[in-house]
């Protein structure tokens, strides 16, 4: 048994951490993440140059990693830095393009690509997708497409001939309305109206499920990184903020709550490790669902407790922790929330 990170991954984590601290310092985040284009072109180019995207794709497809642990390392650092760059979109795109046997090189080099799966009436479930293809022309609406604002290429999941298929659409051919999110970063509504596309996968269901699992794992790792930072900020605050003539951390009522937060974060870390190790294997879907469920619950607890123990300062725009807290809460609604994944688990239980 060995829970140490490999040297390669540690080097990747360190270099990514240094890059993010220099290029996307959290103090500057509010200027970048909440104003069009809701991320930084320079930071994006830098991330690609650093090779961060290569770590998300398997070697046989031209990448340099792509395992659960590679994904977790990258996203944990993105989470620590509260980085608004649309790396999730690239991760989903790379997994799907690899499954379709497409050339990954442009995306690995930093081409902006986004994946449209969820819809207004089917935010999480593949079965509910209503976007349809007639031949290779697509009609429908994809809602809250992460990284959709500014993407050059779109991968679209659509019903075609009784199967869930995957198409590629040039962003310029669709009507893409970009916007920023309440926790920062770019997204878009994508309207397709007899829009030309290119069929990549006739039966994309398995590839979509695999990509969504990878994406959900990435979000869990991102949340873990953000939780670690929030925990550090909270402990500092408990030690330094004085009321009633002593640091508020001297009060046992707050000590116990801060400790409970810490215990839960360790639970989150462990389930992320488990899910990362299982990704791609027979238990992958189950472990990812367990992780997304637990992390969703824990991230909300950490955000709410950290805010409450800070008091008013914890809900001010000026205080970086408030933005971490927003990310921690909103991350739950990406790629299946706590309830969604718990439901997957309860169904699997019944089938055991």
């Amino acid at each position: 048994m060995n829970f140490e990170m490999s040297d390669d991954r540690r080097m990747l984590a360190d270099s990514l951490a240094r890059f993010l601290a220099d290029t996307c310092p959290v103090e500057k985040r509010v200027d970048v993440a909440y104003a069009e284009p809701w991320h930084s072109d320079a930071a994006w180019a830098g991330l690609a140059e650093l090779g961060a995207l290569y770590a998300l794709a398997p070697e046989e497809a031209g990448g340099m990693g792509g395992t659960g642990f590679d994904i977790a390392v990258v996203f944990e650092e993105l989470g620590k830095a509260l980085c608004p760059e649309p790396v999730l979109a690239s991760l989903l795109g790379l997994r799907l393009l690899a499954a379709a046997g497409q050339d990954l090189e442009p995306v690995l080099a930093g081409e902006r690509l986004a994946v449209g799966i969820g819809e207004l009436d089917a935010p999480y479930d593949l079965d509910g997708i209503a976007t349809r293809a007639e031949g290779s022309r697509l009609t429908g609406r994809k809602s809250v497409v992460y990284g959709g604002a500014g993407a050059e290429r779109l991968l679209i999941a659509a019903q075609s001939g009784g199967k869930l298929a995957l198409f590629e659409v040039k962003a310029g051919d669709a009507q893409v309305t970009g916007y920023g999110m309440i926790d920062g970063g770019p997204a878009a509504e994508v309207f397709l109206d007899d829009t030309p596309g290119e069929l990549l996968l006739e039966d994309a269901r398995g590839a979509l499920e695999e990509a969504l699992d990878a994406g959900a794992l990435a979000l869990c790792a991102e949340a873990l990184g953000a939780m670690e930072v929030v925990q550090g900020i909270l402990i500092d605050y408990l030690k330094t903020r004085k009321q009633f003539g002593q640091p508020i951390g001297a009060f046992q009522a707050l000590q116990h709550r801060a400790i409970d937060v810490g215990i839960e974060i360790e639970q989150a870390r462990s389930i992320v490790i488990l899910a990362a190790s299982a990704l791609g294997g027979p238990e992958g879907a189950k472990r990812v669902a367990q992780a997304k469920f637990l992390v969703g619950r824990i991230a909300r607890l950490v955000a709410e407790e950290a805010i409450q123990m800070h008091g008013g300062i914890g809900i001010t725009w000026e205080y970086p922790m408030a933005h971490y807290a927003k990310r921690l809460v909103m991350i739950d609604a990406q790629l299946g929330d706590t309830d969604w994944h718990l439901e997957r688990l309860t169904e699997a239980l019944a089938a055991e």
């Binding site: 009436d121 935010p123 909300r300 709410e304 805010i307 807290a325 990406q334």
Partner: protein, 394 residues
């Protein structure tokens, strides 16, 4: 045991409902219903409508222009207003300073300020908290030093809600610098036009502006603006804390929020079915509804006791804790029900895209903003301290 309002109270409830149906402007109710902050004009307009009816200071004594409502009438009025999506009555003049002046103010102060609160000429804000004095309010440092007929005020206040609309502020200031901190605090009325005052907005987590910092540099305040006696401010602050607690559980807001979440859960879909049919979401909703029904009764038990002249002990603190947690849970469900559609940063440009069903674009923002309700007015931790002190002394 009879859980119903008396026939007189039911008649009053019907009168309030009818009044709201006729006089609450639809565009204001719609804005509140969408979870947007009412505008300053909305609040002024709604205050004026209520004042014309004589209901703005409903719980004020008749001598001061009120209706002398008891706690139950006040509760009925507030519940019905919340259910109708009326803007919250801005409490600083009507519920805080007004009662203080009636109890501690001089006849001159009462004659000068109370009518101006009712007719809207004065918009008061509150100067209590300071950067170093939040939960530990008694450690406040803003100083008022006597200089002839004036106090000279220096220091900083924070979390001043809607200070951007106010023309006056009531402040707790330090007038004695030795002895127990509680014994050196005074209650001072300050005109915000006085030179030396600067108000700076504080942006909140969801992006809105409702609280401010207020800086005082050598601000000259006439001594007649002292309320009560010098160094009696802590008594006044404690009086305020124990006053007008009828709405502390915010059950009217929660009733309204629950109805909105239920409607939303019928509208949005998961797996091709309305969300309300999803067992996990329905369990969350049913749980919080049971909690809400219980706290409504706890609230009525307290009101009934207060109406009978009983002294309230632990009840307000319990109600604040339970009431805020329930409201926050409902805010969470309203955000959760939307799924990814809660994510867009609200903007008028997005309204025609209808990403969230109409009226729900602010659900995530409201969830984040309402983290404040378990923090302000004595955080839930401070409420537990109050309860624990009572328990150990009891």
């Amino acid at each position: 045991m009879d859980l119903n309002f008396s026939p007189e109270e039911q008649a009053f409830q019907a009168e309030v409902k009818a009044f709201l149906a006729e006089h609450l402007p639809k565009e204001i109710a719609d804005r509140v219903g969408r979870g947007e902050e009412p505008t300053r004009e909305d609040m002024d307009r709604w205050h004026a409508i209520l004042n014309d009816k004589g209901w703005l200071g409903g719980s004020w004594p008749k001598d001061f222009g009120g209706q002398a409502w008891g706690p139950i009438e006040q509760h009925i009025f507030e519940e019905e207003c919340a259910k109708a999506n009326a803007p919250r009555i801005v409490p600083f003049g009507l519920k805080m300073l007004g009662p203080v002046l009636m109890k501690f103010g001089s006849p001159e102060q009462q004659a000068e300020y109370l009518p101006r609160i009712l007719d809207g000429r004065d918009w008061w804000c509150q100067g209590y908290s300071e950067p170093g004095a939040g939960s530990d309010l008694a450690s406040l440092k803003t100083r008022a030093e006597r200089d002839g007929d004036h106090y000279i005020v220096n220091g900083q206040k924070t979390w001043t809600t809607l200070g951007q609309y106010a023309n006056r502020i009531f402040c707790l200031v330090r007038t004695k610098f030795d002895g127990k901190p509680q014994e050196g605090i005074s209650f001072l009325l300050i005109d915000l036009d006085t030179p030396g005052i600067e108000m700076r907005p504080i942006r909140l987590i969801e992006g809105g502006y409702e609280v401010n910092e207020v800086f005082f540099t050598d601000v000259k305040v006439p001594v007649e603006n002292l309320v009560g006696e010098e160094n009696m401010g802590w008594t006044i602050a404690k009086f305020l804390l124990g006053h007008e607690r009828t709405n502390i559980a915010g059950t009217g807001f929660s009733v309204q929020a629950l109805a909105q979440v239920k409607a939303l859960a019928r509208q949005v879909k998961r797996r091709g079915k309305p969300l309300i049919e999803n067992p996990l979401f329905a369990a969350r909703l049913a749980s919080v509804e049971a909690e809400l029904e219980a706290v409504k009764i706890t609230n009525l038990r307290m009101l009934s006791k207060a109406a009978a002249g009983g002294r309230l002990g632990a009840e307000p603190s319990m109600l604040k804790i339970k009431g805020t947690v329930i409201r926050q849970e409902l805010n969470d469900l309203a955000r959760r029900a939307l799924g990814p559609a809660a994510a867009p940063f609200p903007s008028e440009d997005l309204d025609n895209l209808a990403i969230a069903p109409q009226g729900h674009a602010h659900n995530a923002g409201n969830y984040f903003n309402n983290r404040k309700i378990s923090i302000y007015g004595g955080s839930n931790e401070i409420q537990r301290n109050i309860l624990a002190k009572g328990m150990m002394q009891g």
